[in-house]
Amino acid sequence: MDLVQLQRQFGFLDEQFTQLQELQDENNPDFVVEVVSLFFEDSERLLNELARALEQQNIDYKRIDAHVHQLKGSSSSIGAQRVQKVCVAFRNYCEEQNVEGCLKCLQQVRHEYSLVKTKLESLFQLEQQILTAGGSIPME
């Protein structure tokens, strides 16, 4: 049972995630965890900024677009394609200055983010369990 294959099947993680795994080796054994942790921190910061920005009286769509662009970039770089897809829609609503659309996308992106976060966390937990039990993680 290959968890990553499963995630890919449901579209949570695309082949970019496999690229990250391939960059990990004995010299950089924690690369994937490090990058994913950065992604979590950065995304949570951006999601908070987005919520705050959408609460303002005069919404700064340029600023919102800049944040979504960042989130789109990071999610693409780690292979979180469902998050990335919502970001694309989000940017379109920004361009239209459609506050309803933006709020809907924020909710959706939060949802997709928490889904992929859960997937990644369980992936790491499983790997940790295997390593603790004395096994090894086969790399594709």
């Binding site: 690369f31 950065l38 950065d42 800049a66 970039g73 693409s76 770089s77």
Partner: protein, 153 residues
């Protein structure tokens, strides 16, 4: 490590670095995750890497900025930069580098998550060596390094 040709005084940067030396790449990107990724990709291709989080910091590092400190300018063999950055874009950074008599020969590569033909031709016309689509893969960076080594010889 630079080695000078015998006889006359001047060193040519292009002839200087021997095969097997690690090229020094300056990677510029405002996205933290992308910086980490490009750094790993370049290090895996035996490059020495310095990262900068925006164009102004990059210019300072290259010795072209307003805040460049005396004696801190380093040799770089290649610059790879994101296109979309707040403040100065990668395109504007490219122009500044090409305007510099000291740095115009340094190959500059532009990266972008957006595949916009006019953007690509604009960058290539301004002197970018290559334009790459994000997210970058190991094969992209291997190809890049191959071009870099080829240009040097």
């Amino acid at each position: 490590m630079l080695s000078c040709g015998g006889g006359s005084g001047s060193c040519s940067k292009d002839m200087a670095v021997e095969l097997g030396d690690e090229p020094h790449v300056l990677a510029v990107d405002d996205n933290l995750i992308d910086r980490k990724l490009v750094e790993r990709l370049l290090k895996n291709s035996s490059c020495k890497v310095t990262t900068a989080e925006n164009a102004l910091r990059a210019l300072d590092y290259l010795g072209l900025g307003n805040d460049t400190l005396e004696g801190t300018v380093s040799e770089v063999n290649m610059i790879i930069t994101d296109y979309c950055m707040p403040g100065m874009t990668g395109y504007e950074l490219l122009k500044k580098i090409k305007e510099s008599s000291v740095l115009k020969e340094v190959p500059v590569v532009i990266m972008s998550s957006e595949n916009i033909p006019t953007r690509i031709s604009q960058c290539l016309e301004e002197g970018a060596k290559m334009f790459m689509l994000k997210p970058l893969k190991q094969s992209d960076v291997k190809q890049l390094k191959w071009h870099l080594m080829k240009c040097r010889n």
